[in-house]
Symmetry: C2
Subunit: 333 residues, 2 copies
């Protein structure tokens, strides 16, 4: 899965700014990929990019129209199809990370075939993978692991990649979910591969590399999430991480989607993650903790970061409030 850059970011009829979070992620983390935005009538999101028609984006060299918006239900809206069709007509490919597939919309499938253009349904891997072989690979790898789903693992990984690159270090963000794939233009939705190949897909995604190169792998789920721990376990084994970063959201009262399951203690998650990681990389260790303190005020956030650092003797950051430099300092060159 490799998307043609740059992108026209399609915001459709987004009901609010939050609905356009995929497009926002691209603008924030890969601004060089975002040639412009396309907003339909009634769109309530605005990324502050140049508004473009399909024709203007094509003239500006856009290689792919990326569906950067999710409506309720996460499916492709009928009202979008004529715009998507015109993008194909203009020679752009399409990419989306929604539940239904671009390829299952007959008008789009037909037009894409006729024009010889790809439809990238990044939530649905089409390639096949090998079973993981567990062999040590060259280069270094970092994997965020979470106390829960959706607690900042992708954001932390992207921030770490950016900080490493700013120091002229070799680093590559490796996307394992649909938003990460759309942002970075490549990757594998590991939760959508066949169960036998979770670890194998991650081995494929993070191949041998320079000894001083860091793959910064997007984390998924949590070993303590009763729905998704299998994905997390395979991801940890396939990643063979040299460094782990714990991600945590301190105000959450229960696991996402599971009201009866409390959020585990950070220490328990670190112990179990380290035990799993050391099966395929005996040198795995924690390089730091990344806390999403968005729901805390400044004083409470400062105190939480300070107390957590004292408790674990590790750098503790919030990528938004503090940046991630304290963790990058821990990563061997």
């Amino acid at each position: 899965m490799q998307l043609k850059t740059p992108y026209l970011l399609f915001l459709g009829d987004a009901p609010d700014a939050l609905a356009a979070k995929v497009a926002k992620g691209i603008r924030d983390w890969r601004p060089q990929f975002a040639v412009g935005q396309l907003r339909m009538d009634g769109c309530q999101a605005d990324l502050g990019l140049t508004d473009m028609t399909v024709a203007e984006a094509a003239a500006a060299g856009a290689g792919t129209l990326v569906v950067g918006v999710a409506n309720r239900g996460g499916i492709i809206s009928d009202s979008w199809v004529s715009v998507l069709d015109s993008a194909l007509e203009s020679g752009m490919e399409l990419a989306a990370g929604l539940h239904n597939r671009l390829a299952d919309v007959p008008a789009l499938a037909q037009k894409a075939a006729q024009k010889g253009l790809a439809l990238h349904d990044v939530r649905h891997p089409t390639q096949t993978f090998s079973v993981a072989n567990g062999k040590k690979r060259s280069g270094k790898r970092l994997l965020p692991v979470g106390t829960d789903c959706s607690c900042g693992k992708m954001y932390t990984a992207l921030a770490l990649e950016k900080a490493l690159l700013e120091r002229q270090r070799k680093a590559t963000f490796r996307a394992t979910g649909q938003t990460g794939i759309l942002i970075s233009g490549a990757g594998v939705s590991v939760d959508a591969v066949i169960a036998d190949f979770i670890a194998g897909a991650v081995e494929w995604l993070t191949p041998d590399n320079d000894d001083d190169h860091w793959d910064i792998i997007e984390g998924q789920g949590s070993l303590y999430h009763a729905s998704f721990a299998g994905v997390t376990a395979g991801l940890i084994h396939g990643a063979q991480p040299d460094a782990l970063v714990l991600c945590h959201e301190p105000t959450r009262t229960h696991m996402r989607g599971l009201p009866d399951y409390p959020v585990p203690d950070m220490e328990d998650v670190m112990k179990l993650s380290l035990q799993m990681a050391r099966l395929t990389n005996p040198k795995a260790r924690f390089a730091g903790i990344s806390v999403n303190t968005a729901n805390l005020d400044d004083d409470a956030a400062d105190e939480f970061l300070f107390e957590t650092g004292k408790r674990f003797g590790l750098p503790v950051v919030d990528p938004v409030r503090t940046g991630v430099d304290a963790i990058v300092d821990q990563l061997d060159a």
Copy 2:
């Protein structure tokens, strides 16, 4: 996935007895399902069942021809197609657990459609599952977990089901792999579902039941297997096991398929399995240990079982040498 019984067991051109192990499993564990065997010229396997032509099996009421043989490569041989086709012609459904699909053989797909008969490719689940919800279900569940793959988990589960039924207890073997599905006529190949739905598929497979009913769930892989631990983790969480049984093969020198990975200590596997299991069932405990001592002589086997029992203070059995009664004694009514 529910197969029509009884079966005609197709042994094809099996090069040796081992190649017919699926058929042997059906004969051993569900003899009432095996109406006869069909052997082609050169077949080197013999289950001691009545040899039947397709016509004879159809007359005897066979509902499904089960491909009970695996050739090198694990695919459907061209030389089998005319026999399989004639089974469809006679009104039987087909079932196989091979790498390629019956449904992908054009002649069979066409004939099945024409006759309105199902082709059961049990390695390839076609149904969709929900994400696991982690909610406690009624009834009791037992799950074997292994130090490695292929160390006796299916055999142990089938032996436990049989022993419970012989005591007039309520029990159901729940298959999670292709051989188990073909033997029991139902189940889900959990290693072949989409990664996000591993635990959800197991929740579906083992629904609410009578309080004194035991689901005996077929185990898969190992938490210490670098290729497949994700499947095992999701299986443990979805199973919500009340009882675990450790399965072990004491002469193995490395993990199956991974020459660089030693077999873990039994105690480590028990600790990690229990920790994972207690996320979704805090009452999970080990009910015993099942050792495959086929590669040990009588004295060495006796000694291993005795020493292991002393070490862990649990019933330790070999289902073949000793039976599994000592474990069944541990299962609450």
